[in-house]
Structure formats: C-alpha cells, structure tokens
C-alpha cells in the first residue's frame, strides 16, 4: 500500500476511484437491463403462446382481434373468458411466489428458506384440505382457509424462532418440522374422506391454474397491488440486512423490525398465491437463485425473481396443458415439481447452501 501512496497523490487516487465507480455502475446497469429485457421477452412470448395455443385453434390475428373487441363471439369467449384469466392468474402467482421466495431466502440467508420448504405452503394446504373435506366448502372459502393456514404457520414460526433473534437455520428447521405436522394433518384428512372428495383435495394440493376466472384474478391482483409497493419500500433495507445484523444496525437499521416486516410480507405473498392456485411446487424455491445467478452482482434481484416466477408458472402451465401427450394433461404444479426436484439435487451437488 505504501507504494501506492507514494506513486499517486490523494487527488489522483480519488479520480481513479471515481472513474472505477462510474465504470462499475455502468457495467452493472447494462447487465441488469439485458437480464430484464431477456426475461420480459421470454414472459411475453410465453404469454402470447398461452393465448394462441389450445384445443380451440386460433390464429394470432384472431387472438389480437378478440382482445381488442372484434366481433367473433367464440374466439372472444375462448380468449377473454378462458385463456386470458388463466394466463393472468399464472403471471400473478409467479410474481407472488418469486418475490416470496426471494424475500425469505435473503432475510434468512439460506437458500432452503422458501415458503414451500418451511411449511407455509403446507400450512395453506392443510387449511384448504380441511375446508374441502371437513367443511365441505369450495371456491373462495377454500382460498380463505388456505390463507389462514399459511398465515398461522408463519406466525407460529416467527414466535418459535424469535428467541434471541432469528437465525436462518433455526427458522428453516422449525419450518420443516411444521411442514411435517401439516402433512400429517393432510394425510389424516385424506384417509378419512371419500375417494371423490379426496381427489378434489389432491388436485388442489398439486397446484394449478385450472380454476382461473376473472374474480380470482381481480382478488389476487388487488392483493399484489397492496403488497408489491411494500416490498419495494423494504428492499433497500433488506439489502443492508444482507451484511449481517451488527453491520446493518451500525448503518442505522433496526434489524429485528426490518426482518419482521420482510417475513410478514413473504408470508402474505406466499399465502395469497397459494390461496389462489394451490402450492405450485418449487417456484418460490428456484426463482430467486436463478435470478441472482443471472445478475450475479450481490443484489437482491427482486424484480428479476418476480419475472423468473412468471416465466416458470406460465411456462409450466403451457407444458402441463399442451405439450404433454394426449390425456396426460396435469396441473402446472406437477411440472414445476418435476423441474424443481432435480434443481434441488443440483443445488446440493454444487454446495450452494454454504452461502449463508
């Protein structure tokens, strides 16, 4: 270092630093713009495909016409009443799961800390299955019950893991325990019920978009319109929390308050999405790591995670509906699960969990 001091004056070094900072910022912005553009393009083309492909064949022109209000009742029905709400529901669910996963994984500094592993999704499943099988309920009542189940698990975990500050692994391990309890509840309810009812419940638990209709889309859109701005508000603070509690505290944060807020937002997003589409497997789990790997600048990559979520859910629904042969059509959650499992194995094999 002393050599450096001798070679350059302080002003020189400052100039070098300023130039370096400008360059680094520019490179990062370019990369970010590129990643965003690719993800948006991917999401848009998948959306286009979702509107065009189907049992009722339509040309892109017909689809556009139907969306713009052309006078073709059958095309209009298929596009506006069937395909568009399903597409929008998928996109909203993708955003919610992608953000929820990103929030949990970063606030707990653990890639395993996604809502579908730490019991939030299982809690929601238990709630929904109880409503279906015990209450004989359907539709919005099932969604509300799922919401309550997930929120209950979130609160429970928070209370359990709160002691002495929330360490990531304690939260994750408690969550896995809770997930098993919820699975036991679901198993009990399923074995005690009639086969046809159990099938409805199983379908719900696979997670999918078949139930899409405009009312559901509106409710979820409203929830996200409320939650996403809050996520944007908390993002900068969460960024600092990645430096650890002591450092974040000395930079003027109240780490516990920020963490509580982030966990609450994550639970709310995961519950809202699960209530609307069931626990679509692994979307929350993979979205943020993929987005971060694309950006690789140490940031939170929240917007990118949301977009990856959209691409995953909409893409998986396309595959589930149309690309599987004949009558193999399955809920989207089955496809995401089939992709997510191998991803988990790959994650383990490459040792990424070591990243605290």
């Amino acid at each position: 270092m002393s050599a450096g001091t001798l070679e350059h004056s302080a002003a020189d070094r400052r100039e070098v630093a300023a130039a370096g900072l400008r360059g680094a910022r520019r490179r990062r912005r370019t990369r970010r713009t590129g990643v965003l553009a690719v993800l948006v393009a991917l999401a848009l083309s998948l959306s286009g495909a979702a509107l065009v492909i189907g049992d009722f064949p339509l040309s892109p022109g017909q689809v556009l016409g139907a969306l713009l209000g052309a006078d073709d009742p059958s095309a209009r029905f298929v596009v506006v009443e069937l395909r568009a709400p399903r597409l929008l529901l998928g996109a909203l669910v993708g955003v919610a799961f992608g953000l929820a996963g990103a929030l949990f994984q970063s606030v707990l500094r653990n890639p395993l800390a996604s809502p579908d592993i730490i019991g939030i999704s299982q809690g929601a499943s238990a709630g929904a299955v109880a409503a279906l099988l015990l209450g004989g309920l359907s539709g919005a009542a099932v969604s509300l019950s799922a919401l309550a189940g997930g929120a209950f698990v979130g609160l429970l975990l928070y209370a359990v893991a709160w002691r002495g500050g929330m360490t990531g692994h304690r939260f994750v391990l408690s969550g896995i325990g809770v997930a098993y309890v919820c699975a036991a509840v679901v198993g009990y309810l399923l074995t005690r019920s009639e086969v046809d009812q159990a099938q409805v419940a199983l379908r719900w638990m696979a997670g999918g978009l078949a139930q899409a209709e405009w009312g559901l889309v509106q409710v979820l859109a409203l929830a996200l319109a409320l939650l996403v701005p809050l996520v944007a508000l908390v993002a900068r603070r969460l960024d600092l929390l990645l430096l650890g509690d002591d450092q974040a505290g000395s930079l003027g944060l109240r780490p516990e308050v920020v963490r509580a807020g982030v966990v609450a937002l994550g639970v709310a997003l995961a519950c809202a999405a699960t209530a609307a589409a069931g626990p679509v497997a692994f979307v929350a789990f993979v979205a943020a790591p993929v987005a971060r790997r694309l950006l690789s600048d140490g940031g939170l990559a929240l917007a990118e995670s949301a977009l990856v979520g959209v691409v995953l859910v909409v893409g998986a629904d396309l595959v589930a509906q149309h690309l599987l042969p004949g009558d193999l059509s399955v809920p989207a959650g089955v496809v995401t699960g089939a992709v997510g499992g191998p991803y988990l194995i790959w994650l383990m094999a490459t040792g990424r969990t070591a990243a605290r």
Binding site: A10, A17, D246, Q247, S250, G252
Partner: protein
C-alpha cells in the same frame, strides 16, 4: 482536529440472554484519540464495543453520545456519527467492492432518495483514503484478507462517521497486514481527527497504536490510561494470569510484553541461536 463528540459509558452492565458479561463499566472515550481495549478471551471487550456501537442495549446503566442516551436516539442519527466494524463482517455473495463501500452511504440517504453525486464523492474519497481505488470492480470474495479489511474500513469511511469502532480489525491478517491496517487507522485519526476505538488481541500492537489503553478482566475495567502508565507486569498478570516482563519496544519505546511461560520458570533452556 479537536472533535468534541463524546462517547461515554456510565455504569454499563451487559448480558446475553440472562448471562451477564460486563459488570458496571465506566468509560469516557477520549475524543480525537485512538483507544484500544485489551483483555483475555471472554473478558467482555467485544461486548462492551457492541454496546458503545448501539448494537447491544445495556441491562443497566447507559451509553451517552454527546450527553444523549445512545439507545434512545434514532438509529440513523447514530449511524451518521458512529461506525462499527464487527469481528467477522459478512459480504453478500457476488458483491463488488464499489457496491459494498456504497452500502455505507445508507445513513445519509432518505427512504426514497437514490444514489447522488454526494454519495459517489464520499465513496470515491473512502476508496482513495484506504488505497483501494484499483479494486472497485472486483468481487469482495476474490480479495486477499488484507485487501478485504481495507475495503471494510472504506465502507465505514463512506459512512463518514466521527467515531470508528472496530472489533479485532487485524484478526486473520499476517503481521505485515496487521501493521498496514493499524497504520491506516492511525493516519485517519491523525489527519482527520477521527476518534478510533478498537479491540485488539496483540498487546504490543495495542501499546504501540493506543493513545488510551483500556484493560478489561472478567467483565470489569481494571486499568486505563496511556500505555506507558498502564501496561506493566502486574497489569498483564492481573488481566491475563500470565507472568511477563515488560520492556521498552526497541522501535518506538512503547511498553512491550515478553511472556514468561511456565517452561521458563521451570528453568527450560533454549538451544536455538540467540540474536544478541
């Protein structure tokens, strides 16, 4: 040079859960000077530093900054005056040096205010002061231990605090890099009048760099003052339970601690060639 920001601990008791670690410490940190806290492992020195940095709330007593209770001040207000570097700071995976140092600007940014020219200036200045300007675009995990420590100090400087608190800033560094980091802190203190408070393990480096040496043992402050007045054989025995001779450091004339272990007392002889 004379910055009168006062950081004072009044009868501070500190605990983790129910376990008390520090029992009633009074300490007035001299403004504009380098204070070094030393003591045996587990004596509560890092804990005391965390309380001075508002991270840990005292169970009894209080820490005052300019006469105000530190733990009742707004965190952001404290952060614009006090910077703390923990023993093992965590860098988010993949973050660049420039971004990390930029994080230090948070106390000066509003909830919605984005990156400003003033922020860029402060970060450039911090990088230049720590001679890390050539590392801006590098990833923090690629750096050597010594470089990384400089970058963390740069982040604190970007925060622009008048008081720097550092918990063992020389851990894991070889002797050359230890001296390098301590020289950097001493320069900051001399040139900018920044108050420095740090925990160090190495008594000889502590004696050399401290204006004010604080010795702790078993959660209490046992001695404080100028190193030459404080550091003697009796003090080392009291704080560390170690027999030692204290001689004059041949380079600086500061006290230098040479341990006399149990083997020497048993009359062990050394066959290795003596330097003298």
């Amino acid at each position: 040079m004379t910055d009168e920001t006062r950081l004072v601990a009044h009868g501070v008791h500190l605990a983790y859960d129910q376990r008390r670690v520090v029992h009633g410490v009074d300490l007035a940190v001299p403004a504009g000077q380098v204070t070094v806290i030393v003591g045996a492992n587990g004596c509560g020195k890092s804990t005391l530093l965390r309380a001075l940095g508002r991270i840990l709330r005292p169970v009894e007593g209080r820490v005052e900054l300019d006469g105000r209770d530190l733990h009742r001040m707004r965190p952001r207000e404290v952060a614009s005056v006090l910077g703390l570097l923990p023993q093992q700071p965590v860098a988010p995976e993949g973050i660049s040096v420039g971004d990390l140092v930029g994080r230090g600007r948070h106390p000066h940014q509003g909830a919605f205010r984005r990156w400003s020219a003033a922020d860029a200036d402060a970060v450039a200045r911090a990088l230049a002061l720590t001679d890390t300007q050539d590392l801006v675009g590098r990833r923090v995990e690629e750096l050597s231990g010594g470089q990384r420590q400089r970058v963390w100090v740069a982040m604190m400087l970007a925060q622009d605090p008048r008081i720097l608190l550092l918990d063992e800033p020389t851990t894991y560094l070889d002797i050359a890099h230890q001296v390098d980091v301590l020289d950097l802190l001493a320069d900051l203190n001399q040139q900018r009048g920044t108050t420095v408070v740090m925990v160090l393990h190495d008594l000889n480096l502590a004696a050399r760099y401290a204006d004010h040496l604080v010795v702790m043992a078993a959660g209490r402050l046992v001695r404080e003052g100028a190193p030459a007045d404080v550091l003697d054989a009796e003090c080392v025995r009291e704080a560390f339970g170690l027999l030692a001779r204290v001689v004059a450091d041949p380079v600086t004339g500061c006290p230098m601690v040479v341990p006399e272990g149990a083997r020497e007392r048993r009359g062990a002889t050394y066959s290795k060639v003596s330097l003298t």
